[in-house]
């Protein structure tokens, strides 16, 4: 009888997790949670959630591709849920692991996995990039601006394309130099090469350079600051890295997204499916703070605010590179 009661209590416990505290876990992508960019934004979101609720989370920083599936499987087996994978590179691993553990809730940033237990969160990076491009086009004196991407993939081309469209909107005659750092994931973690690419663009006359290259971008911003021209940050607010030398940053609110996944899971409002966060949803934006106040003139601010309102209302449509793998402007 006693044994029966124990097992009944155990069964009741097992049925409870919906109301019990969640056990979240996060895997960060190559570059690590302190990359001052993409991963750090995710980390900040998770930390904000932890501070509000007191719920701790497990984390893992991916060092190489072989670890992706291992880490996710490990988290799932240890009973973690929701499990958030940061970055498109986790896509195939997450697809496999999520199918194996249908009762575990998963979320992935920057990639769409079509499974009933996965929430996929993607951003309209082209809209945010358009805004910083607009600022770059207006801030450039030489009429030449640069873009340094990380890995050469459609997602990064989407940044580049939105940026180029914005630059042309700011200054129709402007020239945009575009470079990609590499063709593997390591391209997001190579500041030396990022610096050399930026220097080569500076040598060709660029005086504003935008990067979408994670940790590689640290080298880009440094080269820009060394040459006394302007850089543009990405994902997190990077204006403070070289104050006065970073025009603005394209904010991609991965922090908000991560915090929302965790909060929703905690309050039982979590839903699988695709979430698209654009300018209208507050998913992307441009950064303004004390560090770049002097760099943004009233005229520039008015233009970017107008563009922002136009994109939100639908009056201006920013072309999405990933919709047809083409960019209307170069």
């Amino acid at each position: 009888m006693k044994r029966y009661a124990v097992s009944a209590a155990f069964a009741a416990l097992m049925a409870l997790p919906a109301h019990a505290q969640i056990k979240p876990a996060i895997t960060f992508d190559v570059g690590g949670k302190f990359d001052k960019s993409f991963n750090e934004a995710a980390y900040n979101g998770a930390e904000a959630f932890k501070k509000k609720t007191g719920i701790a989370y497990r984390e893992f920083e991916i060092q190489n591709d072989a670890q992706r599936e291992q880490a996710l499987t490990r988290f799932a087996r240890d009973g973690h849920s929701p499990i958030i994978a940061i970055g498109f590179s986790n896509g195939s691993a997450l697809k496999k692991v999520a199918a194996e553990f249908p009762n575990v809730r998963f979320a992935i940033i920057d990639f769409v996995v079509d499974l009933p237990n996965v929430q996929s969160i993607v951003f309209k990076e082209h809209e945010g990039s358009y805004l910083v491009g607009l600022l770059a086009g207006q801030a450039s004196k030489s009429g030449k601006v640069g873009f340094v991407g990380g890995m050469d993939i459609p997602l990064i081309r989407r940044f580049a394309c939105g940026y180029a469209q914005g630059v042309k909107a700011g200054k129709a005659s402007a020239e945009v130099f575009q470079n990609m750092t590499g063709t593997t994931g390591a391209a997001f973690n190579d500041p030396l090469k990022g610096g050399e690419l930026a220097r080569s663009q500076i040598a060709r006359g660029a005086d504003v350079i935008y990067h979408a290259a994670g940790n590689t971008g640290a080298g880009v911003l440094r080269a820009a600051a060394d040459a006394n021209i302007l850089g543009i940050g990405v994902d997190s607010n990077q204006n403070g890295i070289h104050p006065g030398k970073v025009l603005t940053s394209m904010l991609k609110r991965v922090d908000v997204a991560v915090e929302k996944v965790l909060t929703d899971a905690n309050t039982n409002q979590w839903k699988p499916g695709v979430t698209v966060l654009g300018l209208a949803e507050g998913g992307v934006d441009w950064a303004q703070d004390d560090n770049n106040k002097a760099l943004i003139t009233a005229e520039m601010r008015a233009a970017v605010e107008k563009a922002s309102a136009d994109i939100k209302s639908g009056a201006v449509k920013v072309h999405d590179y990933m919709s047809d793998q083409k960019c209307p402007v170069q």
């Binding site: 570059g31 690590g32 949670k33 302190f34 990359d35 920083e61 050469d152 130099f177 575009q178 470079n179 990609m180 590499g182 063709t183 973690n189 190579d190 500041p191 030396l192 090469k193 610096g195 050399e196 690419l197 220097r199 080569s200 040598a203 060709r204 940790n215 640290a218 080298g219 440094r222 890295i241």
Partner: protein, 323 residues
């Protein structure tokens, strides 16, 4: 004129990219010429990079950083020397052990100390080797052709760059014009003969290994304190091994080492700079083709142009005194 400036830009960039290779290559040259194969160039550079970045960060002085980098590299060289010369251990195994140890240790310490995923915070101002503008760079820059070359390519680099390039003639002089150099070369070819002449083989080999450590220290410091202005885990990224390949290209000769490293630097710089540039007659070259270029050229050069490269005869063999 514009294409000339583009070419100068590439040369300028290849000079910068060649420096760590050149340091490691000359370092390997000393060591192998004395008969000690050094696979651990990579590890020594990485150790120096970490030590120099942390010291420069703590003290705010790039020079102290350089000294710390050289010191750590010398210690690692002594470890290698102790295992290979005194204990007559396997030189390849020791070298790999140093690489693995340093790769793990630097990342771990960096992570614990700075909590930035193994990175050190960015070095600013005097904590970093800044670019030195050589005298008259501005005046001479006005002279056509040679002026811009002087101003762009020769002037405007950090201190370790000049140290590395000065090390080439110095190495040549030491190896071919001094008694020590003659003995070093002899000990790598026929240590028994050197021993018969009453000269200590271990002492000579230790001195070569220390010279190797010194140069690796400069190379590693350059990467962390000048080029990247911070330490990053695994930032040497195989340069120590490429340097070994360059050493074979160079047939274990200092001037050859200079050209081999400049060639590798040039290929790297070309790959970076030609991206997105429209070439006359060809149009815009695809990124992938450009990135494959260095590897393609390396294979072609290795297969066709190097000829026979004969290593020092006693390299890799521990010396055992016959009784």
């Amino acid at each position: 004129m514009e294409s000339y400036l583009l070419a100068l830009g590439i040369l300028d960039s290849s000079t910068r990219l060649a420096v760590p290779l050149l340091c490691a290559c000359l370092a390997g040259l000393y060591s192998e010429r004395a008969g000690v194969v050094d696979i651990g160039l990579e590890g020594k550079m990485l150790g120096a990079a970490f030590a120099s970045a942390t010291t420069a960060l703590a003290t705010g002085s790039a020079m102290l950083g350089l000294m710390a980098g050289i010191l750590v590299s010398l210690v690692l060289a002594l470890v290698h020397g102790f295992a290979c010369i005194t204990q007559r251990g396997n030189q390849i195994v020791t070298g790999i052990a140093i690489n693995v140890l340093v790769a793990g240790l630097t990342a771990l310490l960096g992570h614990v100390w700075y909590n930035q995923g193994g990175r050190t915070p960015s070095l600013e101002g005097d904590a970093r080797f800044n670019e030195i503008t050589l005298p008259l760079a501005d005046t001479l820059g006005a002279i056509p052709i040679l002026g811009p070359f002087y101003a762009e390519v020769i002037s405007g680099h950090a201190l370790p760059v000049y140290l590395a390039f000065l090390a080439v003639p110095l190495t040549w002089y030491l190896l071919y014009r001094t008694r020590w150099g003659l003995r070093i070369r002899a000990v790598g070819e026929n240590p028994a003969a050197v021993d018969t002449a009453g000269i200590s083989v271990p002492r000579l080999r230790y001195s070569a290994v220390l010279a190797c450590g010194l140069l690796c220290g400069i190379g590693g410091t350059y990467m962390a304190v000048a080029q990247a202005a911070s330490f990053l885990p695994h930032m040497t990224a195989g340069k120590g091994f490429i340097a070994l390949a360059a050493l074979i290209f160079a047939k274990w000769r200092p001037v050859g080492a200079l050209w081999a490293c400049l060639l590798f630097g040039l290929l790297d710089a070309t790959a970076i700079r030609l991206q997105g540039v429209t070439l006359p007659g060809i149009g815009e070259v695809p990124v992938q083709a450009i990135q494959a270029l260095p590897y393609l050229l390396t294979v072609i050069l290795l297969a066709g142009f190097v000829g026979r490269a004969i290593p020092p005869k006693a390299s890799g063999i521990p010396y055992v005194k016959e009784r």
